[in-house]
Subunit: 339 residues, 2 copies
């Protein structure tokens, strides 16, 4: 198996992606292809004593800036490290790609270079978010498609369900529609129209409307929504974690007595914090494209990149793309039957 990593993407490029690739090559038994400025990568490896065993460097010195118009990936930046990596995947020279570069550009590359699975209307971003009891829920769409039609939400449900089942190993995960109440009449036109479509969808275990309050409390395994709502949920979750985490830290550092208390709970507290750490959980898959494309967090370090590569490997091994293709085909057949 060969996995591409875009070494020029992310805040800590190229050192941390390269380091992550080297660790993955050594520990995970995958062949790594690293795209980026080859001279810079070789110098960086030498300076930091990073072994290039098991790593193929592909020279692509150009970088697509985070603020560039995403579609510029196809023309002006067609030779950048991200686009070159995408091409390798599209041509079958690699099985999957990980990048911490611009989400918009990655979506464009996934859609137009790696290409959509047959029948998929719009690829979506899936993101695993920690919830009560050490569980996770998959938020889908976490920000790719702001304006959605009801049929797009049913497809997010099918794709998210396939991903959750294959990667987390839960059969028939509980799919919920993020809404502002549990009754059938709740929500905007989008949710009201999507609800019966989701109920009628074969092959998924749909549990109905789920209020945002229930998401961190384990109300569903796959939370379906438009990309605007999903991005609000994702970002607010991050912000609340930062706010409450900071407040607890302030409590612990209030005075000598609380600092002593902090010492006594340090071990358990740090193991809880670890369950919230995105660096442990890998990246966000772009669902609905022909091969696994993983968006790593912009501030990923080597460990986060290695975990994203591990996740890409699982996606290839468990044939996520095949499972999504099956689900989408089943959805289409059901729709034709009902038509």
């Amino acid at each position: 198996m060969k996995i591409v990593i875009d070494a020029m993407g992310g805040d800590l490029a190229p050192l941390e992606p390269l380091r992550g690739a080297a660790e993955a090559a050594a520990e995970l038994g995958v062949g790594m292809i690293v795209t980026g400025d080859e001279a810079q990568l070789r110098a960086c490896a030498q300076e930091h004593g990073i072994s290039l065993d098991g790593i193929t460097l592909v020279d692509a010195p150009k970088v697509i800036p985070i603020e560039a118009e995403p579609t510029s990936l196809l023309k002006q930046y067609a030779d950048c490290s991200m686009a070159v990596g995408m091409d390798l995947v599209a041509r079958g020279e690699a099985d999957a790609i990980v990048s911490a570069g611009s989400t918009g550009a990655l979506l464009v590359g996934a859609t137009f270079l790696v290409k959509r699975i047959k029948g998929v209307k719009r690829p979506a971003i899936g993101t695993m978010i920690p919830a009560q009891g050490g569980r996770f829920y998959l938020l889908c769409d976490a920000g790719a498609n702001h304006d959605c039609r009801p049929e797009m939400l049913t497809q997010f449900a099918v794709m998210g369900s396939a991903y959750y089942e294959k990667i987390i190993g839960v059969e028939q995960p509980r799919v919920g529609l993020i809404n502002i109440g549990t009754e059938d009449t709740k929500g905007t036109e989008l949710q009201v129209a999507a609800l019966p479509l989701l109920r009628a969808m074969p092959g998924i275990h749909f549990v109905g409307n789920v209020e945002a309050r229930e998401l961190p409390l384990g109300g569903c395994d796959v939370a379906v929504c438009d990309g605007f709502t999903g991005n609000v949920v994702l970002k607010l979750t991050e912000g609340m974690g930062k706010f409450l985490g900071g407040a607890v830290r302030d409590v612990l550092f209030s005075n000598l007595r609380t600092k002593l208390g902090a010492l006594l709970i340090a071990k358990e507290f740090s193991s809880f914090r670890k369950t919230l750490d995105y660096k442990e959980t890998g990246g966000a898959p772009i669902l609905g494209v022909a091969r696994p494309v993983i968006k790593a967090h912009g501030s990923s370090d080597a460990r986060a990149f290695k975990n994203a590569i591990r996740q890409a490997k699982s996606c290839v091994e468990r044939d996520i793309c095949g499972a999504i293709a099956e689900g989408v085909a089943r959805q289409k057949a059901a729709a034709q039957e009902n038509a």
Copy 2:
């Protein structure tokens, strides 16, 4: 000043609303009018030794169920405790009303009985949400209007800004538009269209798009959005608080050592928890109607009701409705000038 409390609304009716009214009458120097089943209220007062000094009971034994169609408040339930209370306010026999009953019904009553301020398109729900550093931000709309036009968002900004300025005492509070990025092109059609309107609005201090991540971190004082997004933000904030609060509790009760640690931080931890407690912050004002209408949390106890009454009193004293009327008139004048 006379404030109505709907004694039949909320999970703990009628005991806790009655108790809250009695405490408010004794401590806040306001005349309380309590609507509800008079016989039941008198029996309840006697049983629990609650003084009815300073309280006028108005007999309205019927209750509008939480699941009833909101507009049924105007016909089928026109004689229920909530509607009777609204009528008292509409007729000028009371200055404000507090109810923990159905939000939908309260909105209908506020709009059609108490009536909108001239020029207000749609009343909105404002909710104060705790943020970093002991601050609060006002979320508006927190759930009244799911499908919004851009002009509605500008009005929410004007109303929310007036409320924040008067109640929190911050001049020119920072108004932000909840969005999925800070650039002008971000968001759905609604946000893209609302952004220039908000920028052009006189009399408010608009700071631009604000990502959901920044809300709990103090990114703005007044966070403007459609009611669907607002309700997701409100509910997810509650859920995250419950999830992380529970997780911290689990850490503290892990074993004997952590329990000792918990003892050492108990005082500071409980004072932080208090800042997150909705019972301290009162209820959610319905903004844009002719007199203050406060929605108390469904599970409010006497203390929460008393705080909601205190808030209603502040709204009357500081003439929130007048300030909103002024802001809306200024907005209209500016729109006509630009037309």
